[in-house]
Amino acid sequence: MTQPELNADRTTAAGVEAPPSPVPARVAPFKSGGRVAMALWQAALGIAVLLVWQGASGRLVDNFFVSNPLDVGARLYRWTIDGSIFQHIGATLYATGMGFVIGSVGGAVLGIWLGVSPFASRLLNPYLNALNALPKVALAPLFVLWFGLGIESKIALAAVLVLFLVFLNTFAGVREVDQDLIDGARLMKATRAQVIVKVIIPSAMSWVFAGLKIAMPYALIGAVLGEMIAANRGLGYLVQFSGSQFDTAGVFAVLFVIALLAVGLNHLVDMVQSRTERWRIISR
């Protein structure tokens, strides 16, 4: 259990570091030469770490505990060749994706609804705070009871993690909408629905995206954790299984795949955001 937890913590830290500001950080405008040079430096660092790992393994640290890059690579190669890794990736991706979509939609709808209705938000405030403080992972056993051992319980766990993050961001975003813009629209005979659809939602969009970006890794965490608790497929299951077999190389190989997925998914959210928020990006 220690390895995946470590992974979870790292993702958490990265998620919190990403500022929940409505203005998404922009990549500094590297010149193309500088960009290539930096990529080379990054590759060099990665190779150096792998070399140190390979060198230390078996000499400084027992190979049993840290395995080594060659073994991990060989394992990845074997899983890829026999295709066994893909059904696990597929299961995890499906649970992550479904959880993310359900949680995002739920969180955004809840955030907008509570954001525009002061009565409901004040009514539900203490309960939402309590629910939010609850470690959602602790709901996992309940979800297994409710949704069974299949993929549904993993989706539910991922969705619940995502829902609160997206909800909190959306709610904050709706509350931050410039009152002058709302007044301006109302003076032009905008109905309440028009104000919500044409002013409040677009204005809160960058907050929603900030929430989606933070929530993306959590969807993956939820899915993987769910699989670790009870499953017969998925990367979480595989990491758990490898660990129980004292197969360190296997554990590292799965972690590598999970990290790769996390990077890819984050990139996906960035791409969607830059397409929908062209006005914001143009300005910088």
Partner: protein
């Protein structure tokens, strides 16, 4: 048509009250162009906000076409000091926004928006976003949007402040033309006495905060006015001097 009856407005910051407007009485006729001038922070914008129904007066009432204003007054077009363009919309979509709210078909509203954009001299910038424009260009986009809304009363809060001299004249001309074409009532808040006398039928000088009306001057220059040359007439100079004399008192008191 607009009556300000004994209106006072105070803002409360914790326990201390700040009086922005005090015992103001004012009647504005249909199709009249009224300029309100006075030291900055004297409550001129507060007055506009009350006519727009964004603020309720603390005492007194604002009557618009015989009915007291309570809540948003959608008969006015309000161009605030801060430009309220929607940052995620292009200039064209911003200008067309009031038509979109009214449910006018896309082709028609974009067509009309483009015409207005040309009027305010923003041709070529239709697809730009507000944060790509200068302050003056944003003001012009706001002005265009208000024109398309076509309200019977226009509230203008320093609409031409960020423009260079040439453009200002062109905008003055445009404003006068549109106001008379559309039979609009205009209330214009400004710092610029020259502008006030050039455009208005009546200039009101406000005192320092809390604002009351210190002087009311009817500007009986004939219409249509030539915004470029009207300032060289002797009648213009008389009005200007009288107003400036009173205004100087307000400003010098402020400095003490």
């Amino acid at each position: 048509m607009i009556r300000i009856e004994n209106v006072s407005k105070s803002f409360y910051k914790r326990d201390t009250a700040v009086d922005a407007v005090q015992n103001m009485n004012l009647v504005i006729a249909r199709r009249e162009i009224v300029a309100v001038i006075g030291p900055s922070g004297c409550g001129k914008s507060t007055l506009l906000n009350m006519i727009a129904g964004l603020y309720a007066p603390t005492r007194g009432r604002v009557v618009y076409k015989g009915a007291p204003v309570s809540g948003i007054n959608t008969d006015v077009g309000y161009m605030t000091q801060k430009d309220n363009l929607l940052p995620w919309r292009s200039v064209r979509d911003n200008v067309a926004f009031p038509l979109e709210l009214a449910g006018i078909a896309k082709a028609e509203r974009l067509d009309r928006a483009d015409q207005v954009i040309q009027h305010v001299g923003l041709s070529g910038f239709e697809d730009r976003y507000p944060n790509e424009l200068s302050g003056g260009m944003r003001k012009r986009a706001c002005l265009g949007r208000m024109m398309l809304y076509g309200a019977e009363t226009a509230l203008l809060d320093e609409p031409f402040a960020a423009l260079d001299a040439q453009l200002k004249l062109a905008m003055h001309d445009l404003m006068l033309r549109l106001a008379s074409e559309n039979n609009q009532t205009v209330i214009l808040v400004t710092h610029d006495l020259m502008e006030a006398v050039t455009l208005a039928d009546r200039v009101l000088v406000c005192t320092r905060r809390p604002a009351t009306i210190a002087l009311e001057q009817h500007i009986d220059l004939k219409r249509p006015r030539d915004v470029l040359n009207v300032r060289f007439s002797s009648a213009f100079k008389e009005h200007y001097d009288t107003l400036w004399e009173r205004l100087r008192v307000e400003y010098s008191e402020e400095r003490v």
